[in-house]
């Protein structure tokens, strides 16, 4: 049922004029975030969120439709098991945590 062609009432030029600066700024935020990771102190390897983000970034330039949905799919839990209780579980982190991982984690 998803309509992707010709559903936005604006022309391509109008969309660029209206949104380019906003998204240029967001693009620079991502670039600076990746730079900041490179500039960190001490030991540490890429955690699952970094890896997921880099995988998602590839979707942005693959030229295919439904990028937002596909990025969200990459960042979604695909398991089917249900734990009994949330007791002791970490909060959602925004990307799928590897099962054995025990470090890191946003609240």
């Amino acid at each position: 049922m998803t309509q992707v062609n010709a559903t936005c009432p604006m022309t391509r030029e109008q969309v660029v004029n209206q949104y380019f600066l906003e998204h240029r700024a967001k693009l620079l935020d991502i670039a600076a975030f990746l730079d900041r990771l490179d500039r960190t102190q001490g030991p540490g390897s890429a955690d699952f969120r970094e890896t997921a983000m880099k995988e998602a970034v590839r979707i942005l330039i693959d030229g295919q439709p439904q990028r937002a949905k596909r990025v969200l799919d990459i960042l979604s839990d695909s398991t089917t098991e249900l734990p009994q209780s949330a007791h002791g579980m970490k909060g959602a982190s925004g990307a799928v945590r590897p099962v054995a991982a025990s470090t890191g984690g946003a609240k």
């Binding site: 049922m1 998803t2 309509q3 992707v4 559903t7 936005c8 009432p9 604006m10 209206q18 949104y19 439904q66 937002a68 949905k69 969200l72 799919d73 960042l75 979604s76 839990d77 695909s78 398991t79 089917t80 249900l82 734990p83 009994q84 209780s85 949330a86 007791h87 579980m89 959602a92 982190s93 925004g94 990307a95 799928v96 945590r97």
Partner: protein, 265 residues
């Protein structure tokens, strides 16, 4: 212009927010019962919260000409202990008699656990028994797609008409399934974890304007009680008709909510 914010946690907002919302055209809000940012220590804590939702907030909203309606439940985050959750659920029926209560909500899942699912099913049964509308919370972030599917399966196993159920916090990866299965869909305009006005407008362009609404879910976290008028502005900036803008921010919530005889403007 006038709009309805059908999902906002006014107990966490200041009276100034009511004033600014009224100035922006808000004529009604509906407030689902939810997590208050901390776990309540007793069922009595929920009893007091339900009194706040049914007695105090309607009066505070009325000062600014805004109608306040509410939904009651135990939220999934505090429903992981089934015995405690059942104690809370047992006090809901007496509040269902209040004339601003529209239904059961926001029920759903948080971490997609069996305990949460048991209490979700029991509250779906409660809604069915008392012929109530249902407002559904879906999990955030990586848990959303899995949780939304589990919730829809639990709802489909009941005899409640999907047209009387709104599944909230949809995003691009869940909206199609929600609409395809006959439910209503809510988009939450929330700065960090949910949708921007731009993306919500994109979704309407791609998935249509039937059975869909937008809300701010303004609460105790970083959120914006004026998110709905901002989304209206985004839609008009793109050249959408006022009829379409009004449909998703006024007519649609009015249609869904008016299925409860309690809802009126």
């Amino acid at each position: 212009m006038r709009y309805i914010d059908p999902h906002i946690h006014m107990v966490s907002r200041t009276t100034d927010d009511y004033q600014r919302m009224a100035q922006s055209g808000c004529v009604a809000v509906t407030e689902p019962a939810f997590w208050a940012g901390f776990d309540r220590s007793s069922a009595q804590g929920f009893f007091d919260y339900f009194r706040q939702l049914t007695e105090y907030e309607p009066r505070r909203a009325a000062l600014f000409g805004i109608r306040h309606f509410t939904w009651l439940c135990i939220n999934p985050k505090e429903a992981d202990d089934p015995a405690f959750a059942r104690e809370v659920v047992s006090i809901i029926p007496e509040f269902l008699k209040c004339d601003t209560v529209l239904g059961i909500g926001e029920i759903g899942l948080n971490k997609n656990t069996r305990n949460e699912l048991i209490i979700l099913e029991e509250q779906i049964a409660l809604a069915e028994r008392y012929n109530q509308l249902v407002l559904v919370h879906t999990p955030h972030l990586e848990d959303k797609r899995k949780g939304t599917r589990l919730i829809m399966d639990a709802l489909s196993a009941s005899n409640i008409d999907p047209g009387k159920i709104l599944i909230d916090h949809v995003e691009e990866h869940t909206v199609a399934e929600v609409l395809d299965r006959g439910f209503w869909a809510g988009m939450t305009l929330y700065p960090d974890t949910k949708m921007t006005p731009q993306r919500a407008t994109d979704v309407i362009e791609m998935y249509g304007s039937e059975r869909i609404w937008m809300n701010s879910a303004g609460d105790w976290g970083c959120s914006d009680p004026l998110a709905v008028p901002k989304a209206r502005l985004e839609m008009t900036r793109r050249g959408h008709s006022m009829a379409l803008v009004d449909k998703v921010t006024f007519d649609n919530p009015l249609s869904f909510l008016s299925q409860s005889p309690r809802f009126h403007l």
